[in-house]
C-alpha cells in the first residue's frame, strides 16, 4: 500500500503543505526583527562615513542626519522616504527601461555649522551587488570618507573593497578637476603618483570588482552633481 502512487502523492502533498506553513509562519514572525537589523546596519554604515561609530549612535540617527530624496533635476522630492529607496533595484529597472525616473537618497550631516553630504552608491562587482556610502565635504568636491560593502565578492580579492586599507585611500580625493568639471575618482592599477587627486589604487586580483567601484562612483556621484551645484550657489 505504501508504494502505491496515491500514497506517495498524498505524502508529498502533506510534506509540502507542512513545509510551506512552517516557513511562511517563521518568515512572517521574524520579519520585523530582521528589518530592524537591516535598518540599524544601514544607519551605522551611513554614520560611519562621518566618523560616528559609537555603539549607540544609530539610536540618534534621526537627530544627527537629515534624510532627503533628490531627483535628476537636483530638486528635493517630498513625500518619499530616503530609506524606502532601493537604489540597486531602481538602477536595474532603469537599465531596461530608459524612461524610468531615478531618485537618489541624500543624507546630510551637520556639525559645527559645516555640512557633510553623504551619497549612496550602488553597483555591481564580479559576483553580485556592491554598494557604498561616500561622505562629501560642504564644497561638493572633497571626499571625506568612503565605505563599501558587497554581497559575495571573493575573499582576499574583490572582498578587499570593504577593508580600511582600500577605503581610506579615498580620503581627501577630489571629484572635480581644476576647471570644475566632473572627473570622479578612478580605481586603477598603480595609482601611486603623489598629488594625484582623482585616482586610488585598485585591488590586485580584484580587477572586475575594482572597475565596478569605479563605474559605481562615476554613475552615482554624477547624479548628485546638479543638486550639489545648486546648493553651492
Amino acid at each position: 500500500m505504501r508504494s502505491s502512487n496515491n500514497y506517495v502523492l498524498t505524502f508529498a502533498v502533506i510534506i509540502t503543505v507542512v513545509a510551506a506553513v512552517l516557513l511562511a509562519g517563521a518568515a512572517t514572525l521574524l520579519k520585523p526583527m530582521q528589518d530592524a537589523n537591516r535598518k540599524k546596519e544601514k544607519q551605522e554604515n551611513i554614520l560611519s562615513v562621518v566618523g560616528k561609530t559609537g555603539e549607540n549612535d544609530y539610536k540618534q540617527f534621526d537627530q544627527l542626519i537629515t534624510s532627503l530624496v533628490i531627483d535628476e533635476n537636483g530638486d528635493v522630492v517630498e513625500g518619499v522616504k530616503a530609506f524606502d529607496i532601493d537604489l540597486a533595484m531602481d538602477k536595474r529597472i532603469k537599465s531596461k527601461d530608459a524612461n524610468h525616473k531615478l531618485q537618489y537618497p541624500l543624507y546630510v550631516f551637520e556639525e559645527n555649522g559645516k555640512k557633510t553630504y553623504i551619497l549612496q552608491l550602488a553597483g555591481v562587482g564580479l559576483w553580485g551587488p556592491i554598494w557604498g556610502y561616500l561622505a562629501l565635504d560642504e564644497d561638493g568636491n572633497t571626499i571625506k570618507q568612503a565605505v563599501f560593502d558587497h554581497k559575495g565578492e571573493t575573499p582576499g580579492l574583490g572582498a578587499e573593497i570593504n577593508t580600511d586599507a582600500f577605503e581610506s585611500q579615498f580620503q581627501n580625493k577630489l571629484i572635480l578637476n581644476e576647471n570644475n568639471e566632473f572627473v570622479s575618482v578612478q580605481v586603477t592599477k598603480g595609482a601611486k603618483a603623489e598629488g594625484e587627486m582623482h585616482q586610488v589604487d585598485a585591488i590586485s586580483g580584484g580587477t572586475i570588482t575594482s572597475n565596478g567601484v569605479s563605474n559605481m562612483l562615476k554613475e552615482d556621484i554624477q547624479f548628485y552633481l546638479t543638486y550639489l551645484n545648486k546648493s553651492q550657489s
Binding site: 505504501r2 508504494s3 500514497y7 506517495v8 505524502f11 508529498a12 510534506i15 509540502t16 513545509a19 512552517l22 516557513l23 517563521a26 518568515a27 521574524l30 526583527m33 530582521q34 537589523n37 537591516r38 540599524k40 546596519e41 559575495g152 575573499p155 582576499g156
Partner: protein, 220 residues
C-alpha cells in the same frame, strides 16, 4: 508511541554500551570530518574566527539532531521511492528556520556566515546520518547518533578555528591574546591561516595526530 517505548527501555542503565558507542564513536574513531571526510567545505570556509564557527557548530548540531529525530519518527511512513527528497525537504525546512533565526537574533554573525548557513543543506553529514541511521532506527538512538556526529563535527571545526584565529590574527573570540610585546620582538601573524588553504593544513595536522595515535587507520 515509539518514543515512549525507547524511553522506558533506556531507563535502566543510563546509557547502554551500544548507545554510548553511538555518542562517542563519532568523536574520534569514526569522526565525520577526519575519518569519513564529510563536511570539509564548510570546515574550510567558516573557520577563520571562533565566534562564527561556534554559531555554525550549534546550527549544524540543531539541524542534525532535529532532522534525525523527525525522520526517525516518521521513518515508517516515508515512501521509499521518494525518501531522499523527503529527507532533503525536512533538512531544508530546518536550515531555513535556523537561517531566519540567525538573521533575526545574531545579524552580524549571520552576515559573516552568509551563504554557508544555507549550505548546511548540502552538508553530507546531515543527509548521511538520515540515510545511514535515522531511517532504520528509533528516535532515541537517532538523537544520540545525531549528537555524537554533530559533536564530532563541532569539535574539529572549533579546533581548526582556534588555531586559525590564534595564529592568523593573534586573537581568540575577538580578544587579543598574543601580547604586543611579541609583535615588537618581530612576531608576525600567519596570513596563510586566514585563507581557506590554512584550514586544510590544520585539518591535515589533526588527521596526522589522530592516525599516529590510533594505528588502526594506517593503510598498508
Amino acid at each position: 508511541m515509539s518514543a515512549v517505548e525507547t524511553k522506558v527501555q533506556e531507563a535502566k542503565p543510563l546509557l547502554s554500551k551500544k548507545d554510548r558507542a553511538l555518542l562517542v564513536d563519532p568523536l574520534s574513531d569514526n569522526n565525520p570530518i577526519t575519518i569519513q571526510v564529510l563536511g570539509i567545505c564548510s570546515a574550510l570556509a567558516v573557520t577563520t574566527q571562533l565566534k562564527p564557527t561556534m554559531v555554525m557548530a550549534i546550527s549544524v548540531m540543531a539541524v542534525v539532531v532535529l532532522s534525525n529525530f523527525v525522520v526517525s519518527l516518521i521513518r515508517n511512513l516515508i515512501p521509499s521511492r521518494i525518501r531522499i527528497i523527503v529527507q532533503l525537504t525536512i533538512i531544508s525546512i530546518l536550515v531555513i528556520l535556523v537561517d531566519q533565526l540567525l538573521q533575526a537574533y545574531v545579524y552580524d554573525v549571520s552576515k559573516q556566515l552568509s551563504v554557508f548557513v544555507g549550505l548546511i543543506i548540502t552538508n553530507c553529514i546531515v543527509m548521511g546520518r538520515l540515510e545511514a541511521f535515522a531511517m532504520a532506527n528509533k528516535p532515541g538512538p537517532s538523537i544520540l547518533d545525531a549528537i555524537g556526529n554533530s559533536a564530532g563535527y563541532a569539535w574539529i571545526i572549533l579546533a581548526v578555528a582556534f588555531a586559525r584565529e590564534l595564529f592568523g590574527s593573534g586573537k581568540l573570540f575577538g580578544f587579543q591574546v598574543i601580547p604586543d610585546a611579541f609583535y615588537e620582538m618581530g612576531y608576525v601573524n600567519n596570513g596563510l591561516m586566514l585563507i581557506p588553504a590554512g584550514a586544510l593544513f590544520v585539518i591535515a595536522i589533526i588527521i596526522w595526530i589522530q592516525r599516529s595515535i590510533n594505528q588502526k587507520f594506517e593503510e598498508a
